[in-house]
Symmetry: C4
Subunit: 223 residues, 4 copies
């Protein structure tokens, strides 16, 4: 893939974070990794989503050094990098402070499997991490420790990280983590608990999703 | 009706699902059936709402075989099909994961008749189904079992299905199911219960709606 | 005022109901009365907000007979008419099902004076009516019985009516009734009660608003 | 800075208040002060955000007299002025009734440090003031009394004030005060409490933000 193409894809995913209502101001970010070269493209730090262009994206090598771009990369770059280094099949990472998912993260609660969509997309609970500092490897370690073969982790008192086959694919999981969190929140408010699906039913949903959903089966597997 | 016209109508209803905020990413769908030919037009599986065009819609015959279109139909097609086969007067079906209605579906609670608008449009509670797998006839069976002469069913831990005289008509019920769910949710949070209208008052609302509302009386009856 | 000018104003107020997020699909409506001729212009029944044009507005005489327009007027016309007939200084009426205000209406609770903005705009609680049927004089009677020298009434299990010097002016009160309801709802969820401002402080807010707010003092008085 | 430039900046910040969903109708306002001349530019009173232009902004001298502009300034001008007079390094002030922050303000509760973003941006709780009348110095006094070296204060039963190096900078704090309030609200609803970060962790977040976040370090300090 030409580097400009990856810049465009990552820029588009960052803009879609904003248009999907998952982020505010300059918080949250998407990155992508080129499977061929290992180069990582990520949002610049502290730039408004409306002001992003492909040219403003920052290019890092596999060790995290800036190899192209005039701006500083996101302070979450070390977290993205840790994930890429420890999950070779991941080629996209997204981070948001989406509202309901962050509500669960502040409460320190896993996101239960309360909807068929959660079961289809994630196949398991979305775990909530321990507290982790921004800017070093703590966040990356928590993600890798908890994500298993899933695609999302809640970061305690912080927000959400999702991983995928591309920035756009990771965005998909960020959208559905928020949908799941909202449904669980509302049910909790109505009943004081969150009715969860049993493992057999979840496995059936997950299998249907992996095998039958969408136009191309390979789009559905995690990464 | 020319097939292209039905494709346009169904495409428009799917796009309105997104612009109305009732769906996210690729989840949810609308379909329509041609009363003359029995052909069913439905959203393709796993396609973003922004990317839909009339040409991308999938055409099924009355048995559910794809007879036109390059894409795979929604995994919910079997559910739509079951409804069409068992409810001959229905010519539109809509499925969403709209937020508050899904909250009630996760909680496993019927939507009570808490507003005059609910009484006008539905005339009865919106029942919540048992758990049903996606992709086979279970969902369709639950809808047909529970819908009575109503227009909407909550799917346990899943979302909402509505039916109507056309895709656009079914969309109307999806919008109002969400309005009703939100009003009931908020009242529940204020008082711990959901004050419900009595049957005589409901019947009066329903009669007013059927006879006096809108420009053409025949638009108001369910299907 | 030329009739076309009133049609334009009322159409614009109806469209602003939709763009402000206070209404869905075809529910809710705005009307205006010409002070000179007594003619009332109102939204047609069951028409989507996106489809409204000044030409589609319906003109009624002071007795409620349609005197111009090809469409049937809103089923709420009798309610608007009752208000105009009994409140000679009112020249605009708005009806919505805005979310939080309707939540209070379903709960059967008055909107307390919990914010300075509520105190400024309304100067008193927004009362919640008894149950009233749509399409006859019941709703209008409840509004006139309860509104005092205020500008808004919650309709039990239904929604909100506001009145003003014009359709646009009534829209202002509909926006602020919803703002007040949301603030009160959220505080209630945090504390189990809704802290209310005392009457002396409310009177100070109201006086400041009536005398100092905006560009022209006469815009602030109710009607 | 040329006065027209400040008018443009302040107008843009006011329009961004509306597009960010932090304000409704004519409530809320942004102002900026020219560091060179001491002139203050502020929103005119009671004007809809859609109708604002740089020309409609009102220019005040350091004593609060209107020195340019055809319209009356915001009734909150005395509050903005008090802040500018007592906080010489502040050159932007924003006031909103954003939903969740106002919910806490009605409840009379400080905004706790429940998220890493809150810790980064504010470094401390956002305090809730006592009750203060609009239009005199009471609000300004409460802000100055409580703000410490922070950037935001909740106004009891009213809304939020934030301060910054410019109108746009103050807007940033208004956006994040609302994000923090929403996360804390949702966690409170799930658990009955709001888990708060400890002071060492908060100090680490704040230090990272001040030293490493964004493109230019000097953008991050408060004012």
């Amino acid at each position: 893939m030409h580097q400009l193409e990856l810049r465009k894809q990552v820029c588009q995913a960052n803009q879609a974070l904003a248009s999907s209502g998952l982020v505010r101001w300059t918080s949250g970010n998407a990155s992508g990794r080129d499977p061929a070269t290992g180069e990582i493209v990520i949002k610049p730090s502290g730039v408004l989503f409306d002001d992003l262009t492909p040219e403003k994206m920052v290019v890092l090598d596999a060790s995290g050094h800036v190899i192209d771009g005039d701006l500083k990369p996101s302070v979450d770059s070390t977290s993205h990098l840790y994930v890429y280094q420890n999950m070779p099949q991941v080629h996209g990472v997204v981070h948001t402070h989406s509202q309901y998912a962050t509500g669960f993260a502040v409460a320190g609660r896993d996101l239960p499997i309360s909807t068929t969509t959660h079961a289809c997309l994630f196949g398991a609970r979305i775990p909530c991490s321990g507290l982790a500092s921004i800017g070093e490897t703590e966040i990356g370690r928590e993600i890798v420790r908890l994500i298993g073969d899933g695609s999302a982790v809640l970061l305690r008192n912080h927000g959400v990280f999702t991983v995928g086959k591309s920035a756009w694919d990771a965005l998909k999981y960020a959208v559905y983590a928020e949908e799941s969190a909202e449904a669980s929140f509302l049910a909790h408010q109505l009943t004081g608990e969150i009715p969860e699906l049993d493992s057999t039913f979840v496995a059936g949903c997950r299998s249907m999703y992996l095998n039958d959903y969408g136009q191309e089966k390979e789009n559905n597997s995690n990464y």
